[in-house]
């Protein structure tokens, strides 16, 4: 079981309020991702749940029991750190065994759990090595192994993939998702990478300056961002946001249109501009189009092979059913 409830949880460092009172419920077995730009308080929030920081106000409940004043070890949560935080002088086996040793678990039970975790994580051949002799991905798996053997109520991940290279990151992303399906344990995952959030989460929590901007499934956030911040943050490349006269035509202060919802038309589009940088990804091509309505270039997704080059004039037509409208406060107009 692992249902985590935050009730008006607040964190101050001196006079600086990092997290204003905040409510959030993480259901049992859910994969929740905290996402936001750096410095938005997502790691602090995770550390509050872990018990590594004291809350300045409010209450944390795990499975309905108050956990606000419990020390980290007593909360039944396991954490995977950004730097992995493996113990460098211990072998992989001892690293994984450490939490069980501290809990005073019998040796045969320890061995059984280590063997199980090592098999699940492909670490059997490396059990007697030191962390220093392992690659980044393997270290990551050892850190996860150390978390698994405790059979925690929930796993907490603090940007676990940010030290890995791009290819490994994709692989580990799958492995962690796979692990979540197998264990069906609650997982809370902190990242600044919205791709990780979109691909892994059951539920995404978008944070900005300690505030929760929106909570919802990845597709909810993609289809109906609650405000301009979420609209700009979720989705890659970013949504194009237009203000001024263009937006007023649609009775809004800001309108947003995603690059994939702009069609290149030969004549008479809504926007006309000059092609700037073109990014050819093979499957897709992203054009940065300079149009008079926007200061920044407008990003457009086109098919794999489009015969347009730098300096060409291009006509664009947004798909009207995918147009997002926001009011003067930046909130979505339904």
């Amino acid at each position: 079981m692992g249902r985590i409830t935050l009730d008006k949880v607040q964190k101050k460092f001196g006079d600086v309020e990092v997290i204003p009172p905040l409510d959030l419920t993480v259901e049992d077995g859910e994969f929740v991702v905290f996402v936001g730009p750096s410095g938005c308080g997502k790691s602090t929030l995770l550390r509050l749940i872990a018990g590594l920081e004291d809350v300045s106000g409010g209450e944390i409940r795990i499975d309905g029991n108050p956990a606000t004043d419990l020390p980290p070890a007593k909360r039944g949560l396991a954490m995977v750190f950004q730097s992995y935080a493996l113990y460098p002088h211990m072998s992989v086996r001892k690293n994984i065994a450490f939490p069980m040793k501290m809990a005073g678990m019998p040796q045969d039970e320890q061995d059984r759990r280590i063997a199980k975790a090592a098999t699940a994580l492909n670490l059997t051949d490396y059990l007697d090595r030191r962390p220093g002799q392992l690659s980044g991905g393997q270290r990551q798996r050892v850190a996860i192994g150390r978390a698994i053997v405790r059979e925690p109520a929930a796993f907490l991940f603090d940007e676990p993939l940010s030290n890995l290279d791009a290819a490994l990151r994709v692989g580990m992303r799958m492995e962690i998702s796979e692990l979540h399906k197998t264990l069906a344990t609650t997982m809370i995952y902190v990242t600044h990478d919205q791709v990780e959030a979109m691909t892994m989460a059951d539920k995404i929590v978008v944070l900005r300056a300690g505030h929760i901007e929106q909570v919802g499934s990845p597709l909810d956030l993609y289809k109906a961002p609650r405000n301009t911040f979420v609209a700009g943050f979720i989705g890659s490349p970013k949504m194009n946001l237009l203000t001024g006269a263009t937006a007023q035509k649609h009775d809004a202060a800001t309108i947003g249109i995603r690059p994939e919802h702009l069609d290149v038309v030969p004549e008479g589009g809504t926007f006309t501009g000059r092609v700037g940088v073109a990014e050819h990804l093979g499957s897709d091509t992203f054009f940065h189009v300079h149009i008079p309505e926007m200061d920044e270039p407008m990003t457009v997704r086109a098919g794999g092979e489009v015969g347009l080059k730098h300096g060409d004039t291009i006509h664009l037509k947004p798909q009207m059913q995918h147009l997002h409208r926001f009011d003067a406060q930046g909130l979505r107009i339904a």
Binding site: P71, A78, F81, M102
Partner: protein, 288 residues
């Protein structure tokens, strides 16, 4: 330093340093070696350039030799225990955030700047003195008989003095080691359910092991040649005669330069054995 040209200029640049080092090290060593095979007692105007190994035999077979080696080892071991133990404790304390951290750290390091002779005199006259020492006042305050440290426990007293001088050194090195421990490791251990003493034993102490070996190595090399503290306090009496001090006595008090030189060579050999021994341990520890 890749090209032939830069290698050549590098050699020219370091040549003076190498030359000075050689002269300052090799000349005294060679002269000591030369005198150790000679019967050289200037006050009696005796000089016999070659008497074989007689000096070595008489130095090694005298009772004072074995006892001086034992005293030396006891002294070094005692100082190491105090400085390492105290150094770890102080390093952990100084790592805690506190008011006036900078000043406290400077104060802790201060004893290292006091010259050995001065610190020995200060300890002898202001702390250990049976009549006027601070400890005597403390003893008297609790109604006890003042304790004459330097005659009742001379070896211990010298260990305390030298340990006081070297404590800043070990504290400083161990403090930097403590500070280099990633806080995430400690937090991970905390999440893993390790209480404070387990975190110290399983995480902090293994992390410090490398720094501890370095401190042991450097201190041992310097401590084998303790002299001023003994000279100022006990003059080698009451079982505080170390090997270094024995060599000094043979040369200056007995005015037997040949015998003293032989003792010096023996001390060099013994120190090298210790150094090789320590280097191996350190090398092993620095590998991982």
């Amino acid at each position: 330093m890749a090209t032939e040209h830069s290698k050549a200029s590098a050699r020219i640049m370091i040549a003076p340093a190498v030359f000075v080092l050689l002269v300052w090290m090799l000349v005294p060593l060679c002269m000591t070696l030369y005198f150790s095979f000679a019967d050289y007692r200037p006050l009696r105007a005796t000089f016999d350039a070659w008497i074989g190994f007689d000096n070595y035999v008489s130095f090694l077979t005298s009772d004072s030799f074995i006892s001086s080696v034992i005293v030396t080892l006891q002294m070094v071991a005692g100082i190491l225990v105090i400085t390492i133990g105290g150094g770890i404790a102080l390093a952990l304390l100084l790592d805690q955030p506190m008011f006036g951290q900078g000043i406290v750290r400077i104060l802790v390091i201060a004893p290292f700047f006091v010259m050995p002779t001065v610190s020995a005199l200060v300890w002898k006259n202001m702390f250990f003195n049976a009549d006027n020492g601070l400890f005597s006042y403390l003893w008297k305050f609790f109604g006890a008989q003042p304790y004459d440290f330097l005659s009742q426990a001379p070896l211990f007293s010298i260990i305390v003095i030298v340990a006081w001088q070297w404590l800043p050194f070990s504290t400083l090195i161990l403090l930097t080691a403590v500070q280099s421990l990633s806080s995430e490791q400690l937090e991970a251990a905390e999440m893993d359910g390790a209480p404070g003493y387990s975190r110290f034993w399983y995480i902090i102490l293994p992390h410090l092991s490398r720094a501890i070996t370095v401190v042991i190595l450097i201190q041992t090399i310097f401590l084998l040649s303790i002299f001023a503290e003994i000279f100022v306090t006990t003059n080698g009496a009451f079982g505080t005669r170390t090997l270094t001090y024995l060599v000094y006595q043979r040369v200056l008090e007995s005015q037997n330069i040949g015998l003293g030189s032989a003792g010096g060579i023996v001390a060099v050999i013994l120190a090298n054995i210790v150094a090789i021994f320590l280097m191996r341990i350190v090398g092993k520890n620095l590998d991982t």
